[in-house]
Symmetry: C2
């Protein structure tokens, strides 16, 4: 186990925790104090750490993702289980604001031709966040929603290009979770930097 810890970079105490929670299958026992771990354990460890620590998934969701992996269902479905477990804000919104927001979402989903179950948790999160614009009395601030959705499609193409060539479903799922969670933060930062450039062009003065 000390060697597994060195190879994977995951502390021994953390490995023991994953074993107790049955996220990591036990090694092949060779003596009362020794077990044999192989390359699959290292790959699995990295995935568990990404899902729990980077993705913030619950132990139960991680168990679901790993079970789906082991059943060899399609990569798309495994990605779906992982993605559903990623934290998204559950903004509330009063009934009137939510109704307005749901109409905006329906319109954009139709424009993009997205196929979505109506009870999709990300749709619920999006409706909640959009309803905050109505509650703040600033519905005009989402006038560009269609444009954002179009660019989201372009971003998603880049996201999938990043992970599609990875060698196994396991590494694709691990890569997708890391890229999605950190990717949101990376993109938010790039957007701020770009906003500053456009703001300088639009509102900047020459005086300094």
């Amino acid at each position: 186990m000390a060697e597994l810890s060195r190879e994977s970079g995951v502390p021994v105490a953390t490995i023991k925790y994953y074993l107790r929670e049955r996220l990591l299958p036990p090694g092949e026992r060779t003596s009362p104090n020794q077990a044999l771990y192989d390359e699959t354990h290292i790959r699995r460890l990295k995935l568990i750490r990404a899902l729990l620590e980077v993705g913030g998934l619950s132990v139960a969701t991680v168990a679901d993702v790993l079970a789906a992996l082991d059943e060899q269902i399609s990569t798309h479905k495994v990605l779906g289980i992982a993605s559903h477990g990623l934290p998204m804000p559950k903004a509330g919104g009063d009934a009137q604001a939510r109704e307005w927001a749901a109409e905006q979402v329906d319109r954009v989903v139709a424009e993009r031709g997205w196929q979505l179950r109506p009870d999709h948790p990300v749709v619920d999160s999006l409706v909640g966040t959009l309803s905050a614009f109505a509650e703040l009395g600033r519905p005009e601030l989402i006038a560009q929603l269609s444009g954002y959705a179009e660019l989201a499609d372009r971003i998603a193409e880049l996201d999938l290009r990043t992970i599609a060539d990875l060698p196994s479903t396991e590494s694709i799922v691990e890569g997708a979770v890391i890229a999605t969670v950190l990717g949101d933060v990376v993109f938010a930062a790039l957007r701020r930097l770009a906003q500053q450039q456009v703001s300088a062009r639009t509102f900047g003065d020459r005086s300094g």
Copy 2:
């Protein structure tokens, strides 16, 4: 003050707090228990609430933004003060990972022709987040960084189009803070929905 509260939708206790913190200028006193507030107070109240509650800015930063507004400096500079105060994750990263990440950022900034101060706090946050990819042993997951930066420029154009036509610098700054903070959440949700579509096309099976 009761009327100001009704008009603005901000509770009386909150208005009193803003007055105590000198964020809101006092009304014109007409009797020991009465003061006159006008349209500027309502606009200012909405802006304060957006900066504090939606933007999560500190009271000190809100005071800086309001002082900049009152000095009638350029909208770009007021936006800059507000934007610098918006919370961004300050990921750490070890020295080697940060050096690698800083090179990636430098390359992308040069590609986009962005003019940035090297000590820009958002650059620091971006370097910290990117260094997490190196620390996780997955630097290949940022292979599309140039593409993301290009799309960030497109998004920033939409962001500025949303707020540029607002009637006053005050409402532009208020709109920018709301649109930036909620906009990150909206875009993250759209990106998830789009990812699912592309994943279905790329990895989906026909079996269900």
